[in-house]
């Protein structure tokens, strides 16, 4: 049966109606993976013994019991976890299977997938370009339809950035909404798991399954998990904020299309108003200091005593982050860097809380440029911060944000925007995204992407 481009929702219907078996579904995707993964290099490990469940890819930083988990670093080349992450555990209990572990920037350090020790992943829209990152393998595999959906992790834009460059829908959940247990930590106070999908409905469906309090994660929230699928379909008229500072330095084509979408939103009957948000540049500074500090601490356990491979297997980017983080936590520098950054973080949170008193959502571009050419990463120091300057405020504050496609540029590369909501209000984000999907079909991006990768 030809499943090309079918959403998770659609496949699930077919399985329930017994039009197709789970085994057939798995075989279908395995065939596509065998055909296209050698071209795209989206996966580090393919699990080809699944006969049950709807197959998904998870980023290779989620621990999967008995299945090698590398975080795309050679340090963990031989690491087979003896336990299962909460996210993958919940998914497999809800009728999904993990068919592949997706390539990523090593340790999730980057926005290109170029720092992977298992080779760069290619952007399905242009094989000479990056898919973005760090969840690049997840994004590329969904947009080329090697899997109908994937799970990524977003520490400073790592879901939304590749979702943008690959033309799919990617959610950074509220910090604490989804358990981090079993997710190899990058920046522990930022890491937010989230779904990467072809439709808003699929995204909401996956979030509903993975969200909620976990007794194994003390930072997971007991806040009630909304019925996203029902709530997103309620026709609401929303108040949407736009911050000028999020448009500075953004590529003209992205800005142009974004402004068109703003018009559409107004025409749909929503209220659009300007809001006064702190400039994203503050978030970049705060994020850089705190994330490096946490990285240097989280990677300390890879000391060469366990896991087979020693520290010489760390790549250049990981070493840079360990050095910088160690420095900012050192005696005499802690107050000047870490402590001040924490204070600024509180100000940024408060700023969002205040703005969300007036608006339901905030929208804006989430990347300054469309997919860059492979090799460009080396040209920019702090490449990741540059790429994610508009994504990082959501991580610093902990709010949820969704990246959605808004068409293609003149070179045929995906354009995107993000919808930010207030804490634990993924429901309202999905509501607007779903309305926009109905209204614009995301300018045909999703379908065009898949049609490049026929069976």
């Amino acid at each position: 049966m030809d499943l090309l481009g079918f959403t998770i929702t659609k496949i699930r219907e077919l399985i329930e109606k017994k039009t197709i078996s789970e085994k057939e579904v798995n075989e279908y995707f395995l065939k596509r993976i065998k055909k296209y993964n050698p071209v795209l290099n989206a996966f580090v490990t393919v699990v080809d013994n699944n006969a049950k469940g709807i197959p998904l890819a998870v980023k290779d930083n989620y621990c999967t019991k008995g299945v090698r988990t590398t975080a795309s670093s050679k340090v963990l080349d031989d690491f087979i976890p003896p336990y299962e992450s909460t996210v993958t555990d919940r998914l497999t209990k809800k009728g999904f299977s993990i068919i592949a572990k997706a390539n990523m920037d090593a340790w999730a350090h980057g926005a290109s997938t170029a720092t992977s020790d298992y080779g760069v992943t290619k952007n399905p829209w242009d094989l000479s370009r990056y898919p973005g990152g760090s969840s690049g393998g997840s994004a590329a595999s969904v947009s080329s339809y090697l899997v109908p959906g994937a799970i990524g992790s977003d520490t400073g834009g790592s879901i939304r950035h590749p979702a943008s460059w690959c033309g799919i829908i990617g959610l950074k959940s509220t910090y604490g909404r989804v358990s981090r247990y079993g997710l190899i930590a990058m920046g522990s106070s930022f890491d937010s798991p989230g779904p990467m999908t072809l439709s808003v409905e699929d995204n909401a469906l996956l979030l509903r399954h993975i969200a909620g309090k976990d007794k194994f994660d003390a930072t997971s929230s007991a806040e009630n998990v909304s019925d996203y699928l029902r709530e997103m379909k309620i026709a609401r008229k929303l108040v949407v904020g736009i911050a000028e500072s999020y448009l500075e330095g953004v590529d003209e084509q992205i800005k142009g299309r974004f402004n068109e979408v703003v018009e559409i939103i107004s025409k749909m009957g929503h209220t659009v108003k300007k809001v006064d948000l702190l400039s994203p540049k503050y978030s970049i500074s705060v994020y850089t200091i705190l994330q490096r500090a946490e990285v240097s601490s989280n990677l300390a356990r890879f000391d060469g005593v366990r896991y087979g491979n020693d520290r010489s297997h760390f790549g250049a980017e990981a070493k840079r982050r360990i050095m910088l983080g160690t420095y900012t936590l050192s005696h005499g520098y802690y107050d000047a860097f870490y402590k001040r950054a924490q204070k600024a973080r509180t100000l940024i949170k408060n700023n969002f809380i205040k703005v969300f008193e007036d608006v339901d959502l905030i929208i804006g571009p989430n990347v300054p440029v469309t997919a860059l050419k492979i090799g460009d990463f080396e040209k920019y120091p702090f490449y990741g911060e540059l790429m994610d300057q508009l994504n990082e405020p959501a991580n610093v504050s902990g709010i949820p944000s969704l990246s959605i496609p808004i068409g293609l540029n003149s070179e045929g590369l995906p354009l995107s925007m993000q919808i930010m909501g207030s804490y634990f209000n993924e429901s309202t984000i999905y509501n607007l995204a779903y309305q926009l999907e109905k209204e614009t079909d995301f300018f045909g991006v999703v379908k065009k992407g898949i049609s490049n990768y026929k069976d």
Binding site: C63, Y83, Y181, G182, A218, T219, A293
Partner: protein
């Protein structure tokens, strides 16, 4: 220590005997178990595993803080303390840095006040086992809740240190939060020792004296006796160095139990920068006053001893001995209360029932291994005035005098204390079935 004054502070680690780990569900207290059989992703520090704090361990740390008269911080948090060692699987230890659970307490002993700087909670590390050329790691102990108690440098001699540690040990045992078993490493002690030079000026302006410029820490000692030995050795060693006009090196030293000496381990010049920062995996903790109040401390041995002396008029030394082990003191009090309630019309021939029972227990005249009722039965037997068989007594006295003519003569010649020997002999002959008073009066009559 002429011209010098010892300055000694203590760090004490106590493993809590909670059911499960500090941050995981592993069973703790598996001393002697097969290595690495009580481990999980969390206490092995596997990638992706996260710590979830143990509520009981927090409660018990508050309890210890209260018992040491500390102020309990309503806001507290955990921090990461970084250092690299093979028994530390995460490369950092989850501990507490600038907001410990309890601060500013004190313990008063024999009129001297010893201040408690802080009490905080952390996780224990694994254990290294050295086998020939190899070093192996056992992570069974990793993640056991560990309380660290830090005193102010208020001690100036090793005797006070020993007494303080014994008292602390008794308190911890009384709180029932740790076995505090030093042989199993569940209580470990580290004295910080230095000497202050007492020149003329410092003697005058005693209050303004700063701490010495150096301090020597002796690591991981597991007996009170060894702590005392280590301190005494260090004081002599440091004194010699200071008398040469030099300053002892600031360093960490180990203690050689066989030779009773300390030896250099690592110098503090290469001290670690622990790069503390708040543990992002555990949200900060906030306690309500109601919660703090709900954690109660039982009557502590020191208080109990005071009560025994003040309300029961026990000798201080006896009260001390009775209160060292909670179960002994409990036994004692139960005996007293049962005796008083169920045998109120008893006419025991004693002025101070409590002291009498105390004597029985301490002198092991009656075993406290007996059930309480048995103990009471024996007490009554021993104390009820006996019907003395006058005929038997008469022949016993005759026998004793006949066999101890010399002593009897000495008594007659005025050596009055010779009588007590004869009384003892008669009692022996009577196998205790005679009233001492009666024996004395009959003996004196006969010997007149």
């Amino acid at each position: 220590m002429d011209g010098f004054k010892p300055v000694i502070g203590l760090e004490i680690h106590v493993e809590l005997k909670t059911e499960t780990g500090m941050f995981c569900q592993c069973k703790v207290g598996q001393f002697g178990a097969e290595p690495n059989t009580h481990v999980c992703p969390v206490c092995l520090g596997l990638p992706g595993a996260l710590p979830v704090p143990n509520k009981k361990a927090i409660e018990w740390t508050i309890k210890i803080g209260k018992a040491l008269n500390c102020r309990i911080n309503l806001h507290t948090k955990f921090d990461r303390k970084h250092y690299s060692y093979p028994d530390l699987p995460k490369g950092y230890q989850i501990s507490q840095y600038d907001e410990p659970i309890a601060v500013g307490g004190q313990v008063i002993l024999n009129g001297k006040t010893f201040r408690i700087h802080r009490v905080h909670l952390e996780e224990d590390t694994g254990k290294l086992i050295h086998l020939g050329e190899d070093t192996l790691v056992d992570f069974n102990r990793s993640g056991t809740p560990l309380v660290e108690i830090v005193t102010e440098p208020d001690f100036d001699n090793s005797d006070d240190v020993k007494k303080f540690l014994e008292e602390l040990h008794t308190i911890i045992r009384c709180l029932d939060v740790s076995d505090a078993d030093m042989d199993k490493g569940s209580m470990r002690m580290e004295p910080n020792i230095s000497l202050r030079i007492m020149n003329h000026e410092s003697r005058i302006k005693n209050k303004e004296i700063k701490l010495p410029k150096y301090k020597v820490e002796v690591k991981n000692i597991n007996s009170f006796k060894f702590v005392k030995q280590a301190i005494d050795y260090e004081l002599e060693r440091q004194k010699e160095i200071l008398e040469r006009g030099e300053t002892p090196v600031q360093e960490t030293r180990g203690f050689d139990e066989k030779k009773a000496i300390t030896y250099s381990q690592r110098s503090k010049e290469e001290a670690h920068d622990y790069r503390y920062f708040p543990e992002p995996d555990i949200p900060p903790l906030t306690f309500s006053n109601e919660y703090i109040d709900s954690i109660t401390v039982p009557e502590l041995p020191g208080q109990r001893m005071k009560r025994f002396v003040e309300t029961m008029h026990l000798k201080e030394q006896d009260a001390f001995i009775l209160t060292r082990e909670k179960q002994n003191a409990d036994y004692f009090e139960t005996v007293i209360s049962k005796l008083k309630s169920s045998h109120s019309n008893l006419n025991l021939k004693t002025q101070n029932l409590e002291q009498l029972i105390a004597n029985f227990i301490i002198n092991k005249k009656i075993s406290i291994d007996l059930p309480i009722d048995e103990f009471i039965k024996k007490t009554i037997e021993l104390q009820t005035p006996k019907e003395t068989d006058e005929n038997a007594l008469r022949s016993a006295i005759d026998n004793v005098i006949k066999n101890n003519q010399k002593v009897a003569d000495q008594y007659r010649q005025g050596k009055t204390n010779a009588l007590m020997f004869l009384v003892g002999q008669v009692m022996k002959e009577m196998k205790g079935k005679a009233e001492a008073k009666v024996v004395i009066s009959r003996l004196t009559e006969i010997l007149k």
